[in-house]
Amino acid sequence: MSVQIKPSQAGTLESSDILIMLAPAEPGTGISIELVSPTIHQFGDQIKKVITDTLQANGIKDILVHANDKGAWDYAVEARVKTAILRAIS
């Protein structure tokens, strides 16, 4: 069963951070990620993978994600997604 969520956001637009915004999606539509990043060509796939892995690890299957990256490392992406999830389900 997919987790019920409401719109949420976490993170900032400061250097080395990422702003994650989550919005509910229709059941069965999956995880959809819109990513803005200055390093999208080098690290875009990796950032999307961290976002997807973190969402799935927390039981989220259907969601819209807007991510505005400012050079965040993997740990920061994961932390911001975790916080956004926490805020979305609380």
């Binding site: 993170g11 400061e14 951070d17 490392w73 911001r80 916080t83």
Partner: protein, 296 residues
């Protein structure tokens, strides 16, 4: 207390800023304290523990890394611990400590996580900040409440506020409290750390405060800016003059031992036991700071 360990500068780093967190190792502080308390705004209290846990787990730092949690009486203290402990910080710093019971509660939580995560029992240390008259009255009990306790610090801003005054440039309102924290730390054989000085532009007053801290017996000082680390090191690292003097004292002592002289003197001045202890401490600190190498 570990004799080969230095904690001259313990630098606070705001816990909700990835840029500051991941780059904080380059400034050479003996210890980093990733802060979840005063530098994290209430709306971000849920976010910072994830960042801090992540950076500890994934970034290699050249020094020990601790976490200042929110007090257990707040809505965030227990979550802070549960989130950051599995990343295995070197120590936890409790703010506003007032009793041994608080330390024992945290000790138990740490023990559970160490067991669950397979960490060596007792490998995560603890320190506490004394920031109120009640905490000061219980400073020795706090410092000895757990074998994990490695240090106590005075939190000057909160302490002076609790006295119904403010933190002055001279710091005279904190003189007794600072002394009592050093007394308790020495009796408990743990580190004694002086308070932060938050005006990073005022290097002159900061320098005076560091000199005073060293003279009073503190092992080091908490700080909030990389610029302050260098000033602390200048004062807390033994100078060449101090090293040379300590060396001569110990040479004179060893020579007298060999010759079985009852009274030891150097340059006409008697050397007694406290001078020898001080000389040994200077050389131990100089060795730990990397400015002196003992002859084999």
């Amino acid at each position: 207390m570990k004799k080969d360990k230095l904690r001259r500068a313990m630098m606070f780093v705001p816990g909700n800023n990835p840029n500051m967190l991941q780059n904080s190792g380059i400034y050479g502080a003996d210890s980093l304290i990733f802060d979840l308390e005063d530098t994290v705004s209430i709306p971000e209290k849920d976010s910072a523990p994830y960042l801090v846990a992540g950076v500890i787990k994934h970034v290699k730092f050249p020094c020990e890394v601790g976490v200042r949690i929110n007090h257990l009486s707040t809505p965030w203290g227990r979550t802070d611990l549960e989130t950051v402990l599995p990343s295995k910080p070197d120590f936890i710093r409790l703010p506003k400590a007032e009793s041994a019971e608080e330390i024992k509660m945290i000790d138990e939580i740490i023990s559970e996580v160490e067991y669950k995560c397979g960490f060596e029992p007792g490998s995560i240390e603890l320190m506490a900040a004394i920031e109120s008259p009640k905490g000061l009255r219980n400073a020795y009990e706090i410092a000895t409440a757990s074998p994990r306790m490695m240090g106590i610090a005075i939190g000057g801003e909160d302490f002076s506020t609790s006295l119904k005054t403010g933190k002055s440039l001279s710091g005279r309102e904190l003189f007794v409290a600072r002394s009592m924290v050093v007394f308790a730390a020495r009796e408990a054989d743990v580190f004694a750390l002086d308070s932060v000085f938050s005006d990073i532009r005022d290097e002159e007053t900061f320098t005076q405060e560091v000199i005073q801290a060293k003279e009073m017996g503190f092992d080091g000082k908490s700080c909030v800016n990389p610029k302050q680390v260098e000033i602390i090191y200048k004062i807390f690292t033994p100078s060449q003059k101090e090293i040379d003097h300590a060396h001569r004292v110990l040479e004179a002592y060893n020579e007298a031992l060999e010759k079985k002289h009852g009274v030891i003197s150097m340059n006409g001045k008697m050397i007694d036991a406290p001078m020898i202890i001080r000389a040994e401490r200077v050389l131990a600190n100089a060795t730990a700071a990397g400015v002196y190498k003992r002859e084999e």
